[in-house]
Amino acid sequence: MTDPHPAAAPSSGSSQPTSLLSAAPPRRAFLARFQRWEWMLVGLIALVVVLNSQLSPYFLDARNLSRTSSDFMEIGLMMLPMVFIIITGGIDLSVASNLAMCASFMGWLFMRGVPIWPAALAALLLGAAGGLFNGLLVARVKLPPLVVTLGTYAFYRGIAYVLLGDQAARGYPAAFTFIGQGKLPNTLIPFSVALFIVLAIVFGLVLHKTTFGRYLFAIGNNENATAYSGVPVARIKIAVYTISGLMAGLAGIVLAARFGSTRPDIGLGLELAVITAAVLGGVDINGGVGTMGGAVLSLLLIGLLRFGMGLLNIQGQVQGMVIGLLLILSILLPNIVRNLSARSGRGQRQSLAQAALLAGALALFVLFFFWSRAQVLGAG
C-alpha cells in the first residue's frame, strides 16, 4: 500500500516554506500524488466491485446501486466541507449533531404549521449559524477545534432533543420528500446523488483552482506564516466552519426527506463516517494535504464495500469494523514500511523481545475471545 499522506513526516511538519502562497501548484506533484493514493483507491474500488459481483448476483444491478447510492449522500455532503476543515488543520465533530438540530428544527416548525419550504430554509440558516458559532470560537476565541466541536457535538444534539423530545415530526409533502427519495426524470439517478455530484465539483474547483483553496492548504501547512503573509486566516477559518454548518443543514434536509420523518437521534454517529471518508481519501488529519478527488473516491469505496457486505447479510456494526480497520491500515501500513526501512540494527533485539511479549498478550486475548464465546454460543 502506498502512502496517503506523503507530506506527513513523523514530526508533522510545521516548517513548510511560504512559497506555497505565491507559486502555482506544481502540476507534476499533483499527478504524482494522484498516481499514488488515488490510483490505490481506484484499484481497491475495482477489487471490491469484482469480488462483490462474484459473491452476489444482486451487486451489479442498476436499481440496487441506485437505491444504495442515496444512502451515502448525507455523509458525502458533510464530507465536502470536512475536507476543507481538515486541510486547514482543524476538525468538526459537530456535523452530525448540527444535522440533527437542523432537521429537528425544521420538523418542529413544520409541526407548528409552518409550510415546509420556509421551514427548510430556516433549517439551512440555523445550520450556518451553528457552523458560524464553531468558527468564531475556533478563530476568534482561539480554542482548539476538537474541544469546541466536542462541546457543540453535545450541545446541538441536545437542542434536537429539547425541540422534539421523544416525538417524531412526520407528514412531509411529496414535493419535499422528492429531495431524498426522488430520481431525475427518465433516469435511475437519485436527485440527492445529482446534488452531491454538482456540489462535489464546485467544492473540488474551489479547493484546487481558486486562491481561497490555496489559502486553505497554506493555513494547514503553516498558520503563522500564512497570517504574516497578509492572509485573513481568522476570516477564512470562520468561513469554512460556517460552510460546514450550512452543508450539515442541507444534509439534515436530505436525510429528513429520505426518511420522511425526523427524530432527534437522526444521523447519530455520522460524524465518524464523514471523517473516516475524508481521511481514507488521503486528507492528512494534521492539515495541509489532501484532494477532493481522493475523498470522493474513498466515499465510493466505502459505499460499495458496505453495500456488498449488506448483500452478504453482514451486520451494520461488523461492516463498520471493516471500515475502521481500513482507516487504520491506510495510515499504519505506509508508516510500518517507512519504519522498517529506516530501522537501524541497534536495540533491535530488545524491541523484538517487547514485540514478542505484546504479540503473546494479544494472542491470549484472541484465544480467550473465541474460547469464552464458544462457551455460550457453541462452536458456531
Binding site: 470560537l137 476565541v141 441536545g158 461488523v318 475502521g324 495510515i331 486475548f365
Partner: protein
Amino acid sequence: MSAQQTPARRPNLLALVARYREAGIGIFILVLAVLVTLRAPAFLTVDNFRSILLNISILSIVALAQTMVIITKGIDLSVGSIIGLVAMMVAFVFKASPDFPVIVALPLGMALGAALGAFNGLVISYGRVPPIIATLGTLSIYRGLVFFYSQGTWINSFELPAAFKQLSKGTPLGLPNMVIIAIVFAVVVYFFLNHTRTGRNIYAVGSNAEAAQMAGIRRQRIIFLVYVLSGLASGLAAVLWASRFESAQTNTALGFELQTVAASVVGGVSISGGVGTVPGVLLGALLLGAIDNSLPLLRISPFWQLALQGLLILTAVVVDNLILRRAQRRRRR
C-alpha cells in the same frame, strides 16, 4: 505551535489556570448545590449524595485514565467500545460458569481491557497513527467485535449470578464497593502521576515532547503506556458496569467517550497537553453527576441533559482561555 514560542512560560501559566480551575469548579458546585436545594430539598441528603457518588464512580475511573491520555496530547475515543466489549466478555464468562470466582472478575476485566488498550497504543506510538484516527478506528472495530462476539444477543439480569451483581453494590465497608474502588483508583492515579518517575514523564511528554526526548524520556513507551492504562481502566469500569446494571448489551456504554472527555475538560485538563490534575477531574465528574442528578429533582425534562453538558464543556474551555489570557497579560507587564 505556540508551545514552541514560549516553552518556558507555558507550563507555569497553565498550572496557575489549573489551580484557579479547581477552586472555580468547587465554588460552582457549591452554588449549584445551594440553588438546587432551595428548590428541591431532597438534593442535600445523604441518600442523594450517595446516589451521585454511585453514578459518577464509573465515570471518574475512566475520566482519570482519559486524562492521562489527554495530558500526552492524545485522545482515546474507544473507551466506550472497550467497556462494551469487555462487559460482554465478562458477562459471557459468568453466564457460562456461574461459579466463576467473583473476585477474579476485576483483574480479568482489567487484563482484557489492557490488551485492547495495548492495540491502540501499538498503533499510535509505534505505528505513528494520529490518536484521534486510531481510536476512531478502534471505536468502530471494538464495537463491531461486540456484535460479532455476542451475535447480537444480550446478557440479562437473570443470567448473571447474584454474587457478581453484588460486586459493585455490596456495602461490606459502609460505602458501596464501586465507590471504594473508584476512590482507591483515584488515589493510585494521584500517587502515580505526582510521585513516580513514569507519572512525571507523562506530563513531560505532553508539555514538550522534544525536550522530553532530549532529557532521555522514551516518548513512545510513555504514549504506549497511557493507552494501555486507559484500556485497563475501561476494563475495570466494564466489570463494574455489567455488575451495576446487571446486564451486558451490544450498545453498553455507547457514546460514553464523550462524557469522559467532558469530565476531563471541565476539570481543567488542557486538550493541548501537559496539564491536568486528579482533583480537578474528580470535581469535573462530580459536577456532571450533580447536574444529571438535579435535573429530575427540579422537574426539568431529561432531554435538556445533553444540551447542558455541551454548554458546560464550552463554558469551561472559554473560561480557561480567558484566565490564561489574563495571566499571560499580567506576566508581560
